[in-house]
Amino acid sequence: MSEREPARAEEPRVEVSRGSAAEFAEELRTLAPSLPDRINADPEHVENGLARLVLTVIELLRNVLEHQAVRRMDGGTLTDEEVERLGLALMRLDERMQELKHTFGLSDEELTIDLGPLGRLG
């Protein structure tokens, strides 16, 4: 231990490039709901925790479906009516998800799956 450098307590500092402080403040405010969370064993919170888990999985599947739908539309293999039906179905799924998120008080930021170095899904 004696060979360690002497401790120097340096307080954290924040430096912001000129003219961008307000934008960063706004960006950080939107991140507040994404504070790391976990399922709380309190019965009152269990429902919300499970809803978050289930909605996260649905959101992931929805994103996969959306990518596939756009690829199929661009691929030209769908008729106009099929494109319209597919679009309407996904639009309604999106609207239903917005409704459920509102019901459970969940933000988009909370419905993500962190895959570490692979990024986040959702």
Binding site: M1, R4, E5, A7, R8, A9, E10, P12, R13, V14, E15, V16, S17, G19, S20, E23, F24, E27, A32, L35, P36, D37, R38, N40, A41, E66, A69, V70, M73, D74, D80, E81, V83, E84, R85, L86, G87, L88, A89, L90, M91, R92, D94, E95, R96, Q98, E99, K101, H102, T103, D108, E109, T112, L115, G116, P117, L118, G119, R120, G122
Partner: protein, 252 residues
Amino acid sequence: MLHLYCLTAPRSEGVAAGVRGLAGAPVRVVSTGALDAWVSEHAEAPHPVTVELVREHDRVVRAALAWEAPLPARFGQDFPSEGALRRALAEREAALARALERVRGAVEMTVRVLLADPAAEAEKGAEGAREGPSGPPKPPAAPDDAQVAKSAAGREYLSRLRERQRREAELRHRADFLQTRIARAVAGIVLEEARTPSRPSSRSLTISHLVARRALSDYRRALRSFVDGEPGLRVLISGPWAPYSFTEPRRE
């Protein structure tokens, strides 16, 4: 119940003495010989995850950092007894000692960049108008065949999706490009780099750097020089922090 704050090198008792943790509880050290665990005792656990409590947790970690880089514990790592904590540490002692050695003498610095995305602003306005000012959207009635034939809403929705996917791909490309350039700017100064995963639609790029304490001035100078050479780039540099992003086993 013991709340774990961080692990440090041995013989940290003198540093921990007088430090207060969650709810003002005194912090004490549980030593395995190779590692010291900073803990506080609580009658009830788990603690709810709140900004205030996470800050209190971090304050203890920072007190350790003032002495030497600790391995910060994730908030919420509670153990029913000292024996349980000792057993958990014993199972991974060698790996934890290696992890501690990895961050020794170093701190974490964070670089956050806001990426330009004018297209997102335009779409945000359009989506705001679609969703209305408050409350959830009303579920639409199921379409019949005639309705589908007349409507173009589905195609328009898919077109909007396509645009969003293009924009997200462009954001990813910009973020990757900037990450490479920042890495070049601090090459030879940082020990390691970790990128925080973000949502596909996120306009921000967050990179953490593990930097030797003695290299902090060089690090800041190198980044300032990079930012000065990029007028209009929106960058936030913060730290030094405890090495929260460098506690997982390194990928070889």
